[in-house]
């Protein structure tokens, strides 16, 4: 809290200002004051974690729907050899799990090869990522609690499958604040809100203060359209006049504040108008790619019909990372390949392969990969046995795979994790994680650890108890830390 003297002095100044010093001088005073106040009260002020951070920021890539691990990063020769044999897995009696125990094993239709100095196996579906494999840390022993999209996606984002909890990005914003107060600390780009369990709940702050919720930025799918934040601009009204209007409102508010006793909330409203105006000025620059070279665009796969959209998301993510946004989420929906995996999986892979590889290369070239943590993950993986939605009527080319929470792949890069590493493994068929198991809670604990935050100490008191992102679970995966 500010001291009474500061408050009273400020009030005096404001009263004088209202009598005619004018808005410019008032603006300057306000700014000086807010710098002082913000160090005490601003919930977004940058803060240190519990220990030195390896990563300053996170770029989280949500592969919505659940990518198939056995066709991408988890090489299973035995599955290919046993293709067509009955699936040997037992059904979990308590869960409605379509297909298990009745379907046949379904081998990968794509070849794997070893890449890089590390000799890591990567499928031919990811030719660009394969080139960057020595920067990747591949977690092949992931597992999660639920096999439906909505709860599993919620767990990936919040740790909980079925309760209202703050999103990982909100926790990071709450714990570390932001390095650029003209922009929000947590941004999610084109977040899916419908179908397959996409939901605003995934970027919501729940019981954390609302300022920590993810700010939605939409990158339209249409070619060339730039990103937008809702209500960022009023194109029908000249900007100079809008500044004048905002100044007039501020004048009204200062007069009202001077008549009242001080009120943190009213001052907060005044501040929020200023931040809004700064966002109005800064964000459009951020969204304007005209200064990016052709080579950079190509690096991100922009211009290619399939990868253009996600490429633009990744490029925007890099620009936000440069500007100090703490937690940036990009989103690639469409991985829910129950059918026609032969046709649709390659499309999903092309959509992200070049953009992700390009982002890694670009960050590295700018010296930012070492303190930017990239997380690439679906909410779960897919079954090694086939799923035939037509009950045997369709050709094998129409087959797909079901949901698999028991074993799948998450990929990390940069930000203090080892490159060229594969950690953890599933059984011979890629069904269940059997070694180096990493639960969603462990993934969250590790992400926070890399940011310098102890997941057991980042807590918030709500409804009578302290909450954490990792609930009572979570262990940092020490083996993958640099």
């Amino acid at each position: 809290m500010m001291s009474e003297i500061q408050r009273l002095t400020r009030r005096g100044l404001l009263q004088r200002a209202a009598c005619g010093i004018g808005y410019t001088a008032l603006g300057a005073l306000l700014h000086e004051h807010s710098a002082k106040a913000s160090s005490i009260a601003n919930p977004l002020a940058a803060r240190q974690g519990h220990h030195p951070a390896r990563a300053k920021r996170v770029i989280f890539m949500f592969m919505q729907g659940g990518p198939s691990q056995v066709e991408t990063f988890d090489y299973k020769p035995r599955l290919n050899a046993d293709h067509g044999k009955p699936s040997p897995f037992e059904r979990d009696e308590k869960v409605e799990q379509p297909g298990v125990g009745t379907m046949r094993l379904f081998g990968s239709g794509w070849d794997f090869a070893q890449h890089g100095e590390s000799g890591t196996w990567v499928s031919e579906l990811f030719p660009e990522l394969a080139k960057r494999v020595d920067d990747l840390c591949i977690l092949n022993g992931m597992h999660t609690d639920n096999l439906a999209h909505a709860p599993a996606s919620l767990q990936l984002h919040t740790g909980a499958t079925n309760f209202v909890r703050p999103s990982m990005g909100s926790w990071v914003s709450y714990g570390l604040g932001t390095e650029n107060e003209s922009l929000p600390a947590y941004v999610t780009i084109s977040h899916p809100t419908g179908g397959d369990g996409g939901s605003p709940q995934q970027y919501a702050s729940a019981f954390l203060p609302a300022i920590h919720q993810g700010t939605r930025v939409d990158v339209p799918k249409e070619d060339g359209a730039s990103a937008e934040i809702r209500y960022l601009e009023d194109r029908g009204f000249p900007q100079g006049l809008q500044r004048r209007q905002v100044d007039f409102v501020r004048g009204l508010n200062e007069r009202h504040l001077a008549r009242s006793e001080n009120d943190a909330h009213m001052e907060g409203m005044i501040e929020s108008f200023e931040l809004a105006f700064r966002m109005q000025t800064e964000a459009p620059d951020l969204f304007d790619f005209s200064g990016e070279s052709r080579a950079t665009r190509e690096l991100y796969g922009i211009g290619n019909a399939t990868s253009d959209w996600f490429g633009r998301q990744c490029l925007l993510a890099r620009r936000m990372a440069e500007k100090g946004v703490r937690f940036i989420q990009v989103n690639a929906p469409g991985w829910d390949h129950h059918g026609q995996i032969e046709k649709r999986l390659p499309e999903s892979c092309v959509a992200v392969d070049r953009p992700v590889a390009g982002l890694i290369q670009d960050l590295k070239a700018r010296g930012m990969l070492e303190d930017t943590l990239i997380v690439w993950s679906g909410e779960f993986g897919r079954t090694p046995y086939e799923q035939d939605l037509s009950n045997g009527k369709a050709k094998a080319s129409n087959y797909g795979r079901g949901h698999n929470p028991y074993g799948f792949t998450t990929v990390l890069a940069g930000g203090g994790v080892k490159g060229g590493v594969v950690h953890g493994a599933t059984d011979d068929y890629g069904y269940r994680a059997v070694s180096g198991k990493v639960h969603m809670h462990d993934l969250h604990a590790t992400i926070l650890h890399l940011l310098g935050v102890d997941h057991e100490r980042l807590t918030y008191r709500h409804a009578g108890r302290d909450f954490r992102l990792t609930d009572v679970y979570g262990e940092v995966v020490k083996e993958i830390l640099v």
């Binding site: 809702r230 009578g464 108890r465």
Partner: protein, 855 residues
């Protein structure tokens, strides 16, 4: 508070060393003694750090702080098989024989410690900890937990006499006497009475959620009491106070998580709540209807059997039926218990101010609530049907109950259905006609093109005619497509209109007690717990289980009992919170040990007792509070500043002034519509515009689109009537999201009010706000500029502008006009400059703090 917290800490520390005998059932005294002396201290010292609820850790999923903990075991299975040394993982681990599991990891136990554990397991692993096999009722949590006798809110109401008051202004009502005495004791002077205009604005906003009209302010003759009575009697009252209750119920018009599946009948519950506040339904009745309305009449002691519940009472159970249920969950057993859990949580929070959900996985850490208590309540809800059948595939459906109809309602509905069928027939006829017409057109085009005669020359006239017909055909087909959608929707809506249904609960055919779910897992079951209530909360054992059924009738009786020390206190405090901006207990949803103690305990109890004496009338309570001097104080108090209030009571817990507050989302939006003359006063009725073309995305479950359009007869209604979506808002209602409307999936008695930049962006740039500014400007456009500004000020702020304010506003107006002149000179827009500048001025006033805050 300091005292009680300390107590908890001390208790927790002792727990590590001493295990109180009270927690052990006297079954096997020798075994008990051995466990207590040899085993328990060992577990506490060497294992609990990673395997106990107190440490908040269950490494490998294993807890050792209860019998069921090791029986269930962790990810690798049961930790101990009684009598089987080789089969017990715990023994294998402490022996350090297997490199994969060596426990404790930081150093092997001594030989004698290992021997003690071996003896214990060999002899059957006798573990007397609380209720043998009873979930994670952890040893040390029993002692951390506050005793019922120490928790203020579990005690009967204090019989307090109002203090003597020397100041005549404060001598009128007991409420003032208590507040005045508190201020006296602290040496603080109260604030002056607020000016009339401030008070009127505050009163209107507090009671109806709308600012007073300029006319109402002008007509005020000093008789505040009459104004209060008028406002309490107006139907606006329920729309404001009903919303406060809905906040506690996770109300929304869609169901499921992730997809917006229409909950077409949810609005009935919303209207029930609004109506209950408007008729000032006595609180016990309000409880009974919401918890057991479907069975109360037939099940209450002394009531005849077989009495059918009223439609209203069935609808009221929407309190339990509507919620954020995860319909698509694959694990239906767990889903059912998750629904039960949220219902227990909701009942506990709304009526009792208790966080009961904590006791699902273990004894409540802080409050005198055991896991048995939790599952006693859970059994009641488990014997209640909330989800019923499937919508499709793995999607569970909500239970819908058929509502009884009066003969008048029946014939009215028959009339509606008839009209509906006529409309439908007409639509279909039109569609057939258009189909035929389109076919004719296609034929004509083909003829002109000469396809039929083999003559493929097309002259210019012909080609023009073809283009014209082609355009007509395309247009008609597009029209038909829309028509097709409309037809589908009409049928869809009809299905629901032919039979009045409500989202409601009902008793399960076979009521059953619940078994403890170990660590909250519905598949790991512990002991059966008979249905019942919180064992430490009065009236203990006084509610008779006279009939079969789920037990909801008895639950309602127990909640609504005058002996229950929580119900009246919690509700009175909620009302105080909404009126004063902070509760006497500021943690309005938590009256437990982790909540705050009341600032004025005698006043709280006095009000609770008076509330019950007044027939549990919420309106009488509100009336009394707003007529108090305490409530009518000004929001500034210079005298208190001088007296050093910042050191004594910076948070205004003693009420030395009125709390200034930002308006809630609804009051901002409703207020903007009201002052600009646009508010649509239509009340009640269905919320979801499902029959607007394009609003539904058709698939098996039917999903409402995020971008659903609100028709004209919906969009300017009060916010409480706008469709509420789970997980975020419809884009057409994004105002609510920007201004802290609570997450529809979370019950809350206290909204957080934030100031974030997205709000400012909304206020400045959103068309809704700009249009309100424009409408406000138009409202007084007949007046000369100075009077026009004064009228706007009176409407927005209930006061005249000061001379300085007039100057600033006129300056702004002139500059904006000049600026627009430069920008728009010579364009069509130039004609609207005057109008535009006034619109912007009005918008600026509308988004200023004086409008957005209540003084």
């Amino acid at each position: 508070m300091g005292g009680s917290k300390q107590k908890i800490v001390v208790a927790a520390m002792t727990a590590a060393l001493v295990l109180p005998a009270a927690l052990f059932a006297a079954v096997d005294e020798e075994g008990d003694a051995f466990f207590k002396k040899e085993i328990a201290p060992l577990l506490v010292e060497r294992c609990f750090e990673c395997h106990s609820h107190r440490a908040g850790k269950a490494k490998g999923g294993l807890v050792l702080d209860s019998r069921s903990g090791w029986m269930t075991g962790g990810d690798s299975g049961a930790a101990i098989v009684p009598g089987d040394l080789e089969g017990s993982l715990l023994i294998e681990a402490v022996r350090y024989g297997n490199a994969d599991i060596e426990m404790p990891p930081d150093g092997k136990l001594t030989a004698s410690e290992i021997a003690a554990l071996e003896r214990w397991v060999e002899e059957g692993a006798h573990d007397p900890r609380r209720g043998s096999g009873a979930g994670g009722a952890a040893v040390e949590e029993g002692t951390e937990q506050m005793e019922a006798a120490d928790l203020w809110s579990f005690q009967p109401l204090l019989e307090a006499e109002p203090p003597e008051v020397e100041d005549r202004r404060w001598a009128g009502d007991a409420v003032d006497a208590f507040i005045w005495a508190g201020l006296q004791k602290a040496g603080l002077p109260p604030a002056e009475r607020a000016p009339d205009a401030t008070l009127l604005r505050r009163l209107h906003l507090a009671l109806t959620g709308l600012p007073p009209s300029a006319e109402a302010v002008a007509a005020y003759d000093g008789d505040l009491e009459t104004v209060v009575d008028e406002l309490l009697a107006s139907a606006d009252f329920g729309e404001k106070w009903g919303r406060h209750w809905l906040d506690l119920t996770a109300y929304a018009d869609t169901m499921g998580v992730g997809r917006a599946i229409p909950a077409l009948e949810a609005w009935r519950y919303r209207d029930y709540v609004i109506g209950a506040f408007n008729v000032d339904k006595p609180f016990p009745e309000f409880i009974r209807e919401q918890v057991a309305g479907d069975i109360y009449e037939a099940g209450a002691p002394g009531k005849p059997r077989g009495v059918r519940p009223t439609a209203e009472a069935i609808v009221a159970t929407g309190f339990l039926a509507i919620g954020p249920w995860e319909l698509v969950s694959g694990d239906k057993v767990q889903l059912r218990m998750d629904v039960v859990d949220k219902q227990v949580h909701r009942i506990g929070q709304a009526f009792l101010g208790m966080t009961l959900g904590c006791a699902r996985c273990h004894a409540h850490k802080f409050d005198p609530v055991s896991q048995e208590d939790y599952f006693a309540l859970a059994g009641i809800l488990k014997s209640t049907v909330t989800l019923n059948g499937r919508i499709d595939g793995v999607f569970s459906a909500l239970n819908h109950s058929v509502l009884p109809e009066t003969p008048e309602e029946l014939s009215a509905r028959a009339e509606r259905v008839r009209a509906f069928e006529e409309e439908l027939a007409e639509e279909l006829r039109l569609e057939d006609e258009k189909k035929a017409e389109t076919a004719l057109l296609a034929k004509e085009i083909a003829r002109l093109k000469g396809d039929e005669e083999g003559d493929d020359t097309v002259d210019e006239d012909e080609s023009q005619e073809i283009a014209k017909l082609e355009a007509k055909r395309v247009k008609m087909e597009a029209g038909m497509k829309r028509h097709g959608t409309r037809r589908g929707l009409l049928e869809y809506v009809e299905r629901h209109r032919t039979q009045p249904l409500a989202l409601a609960v009902m008793d399960a055919p076979e009521p059953e007690d619940s078994r403890i779910n170990i660590r909250g897992n519905a598949h790991q079951l512990g002991d059966v717990v008979p249905r019942g209530f919180l064992s430490e909360v009065a009236p203990k054992g006084k509610v008779a289980w006279t009939r079969g059924g789920s037990g909801r009738v008895q639950l309602a009786e127990w909640l609504a009992s005058a002996d229950n020390p929580l119900t009246a206190r919690v509700w009175v405090n909620r009302v105080w919170h909404h009126l004063f901006g902070a509760g006497l207990v500021r943690t309005v949803d938590n009256f437990g040990a982790r909540g705050e103690a009341p600032s004025h305990p005698e006043l709280l109890d006095y009000l609770a007792a008076e509330f019950m004496r007044d027939g549990w009338s919420t309106k009488k309570l509100i009336r009394r509070l707003v007529m108090s001097e305490a409530w009518q104080q000004d929001s500034v108090n210079h005298d208190a500043m001088v007296a050093g209030v910042r050191d004594i009571d910076p948070e205004n817990r003693l009420y030395w002034r009125s709390n200034r507050r930002r308006l809630e989302a609804e009051a901002i939006r409703d207020g903007m519509l009201f002052v600009s003359g646009q508010l649509d006063r239509k009340r009640g009725g269905p919320a979801l515009p499902v029959d607007e073309p394009g609003n539904m995305r058709t698939n098996s479950t039917g999903i409402m689109s995020d971008t659903a359009v609100f028709p004209d007869d919906l969009k300017n209604r009060r916010t409480i009537y706008l469709p509420q979506k789970r997980k975020g808002a419809f884009i057409a209602a994004d105002f609510m999201e920007a201004f802290d409307l609570p997450d529809t999936d979370q019950e809350t008695g206290k909204r957080t009010l934030t100031s974030v930049p997205t709000q400012a962006l909304y206020l400045v740039n959103a068309p809704f706000v700009q249009e309100c500014g424009r409408a406000l400007a138009v409202r007084y456009e007949a007046e000369a500029p100075a009077e026009r500004l004064r009228a706007v000020y009176r409407t927005l702020f209930s006061r005249e502008p000061e001379a300085g304010e007039v100057v600033l506003a006129m300056e702004y107006l002139a500059e904006t006009k000049a600026g627009l002149q430069r920008e728009w000179e010579g364009t069509k827009a130039a004609a609207g400059i005057e109008e535009e500048a006034w619109a912007r001025l009005c918008q600026a006033l509308l988004i200023s703090n004086e409008f957005l805050f209540r003084s």
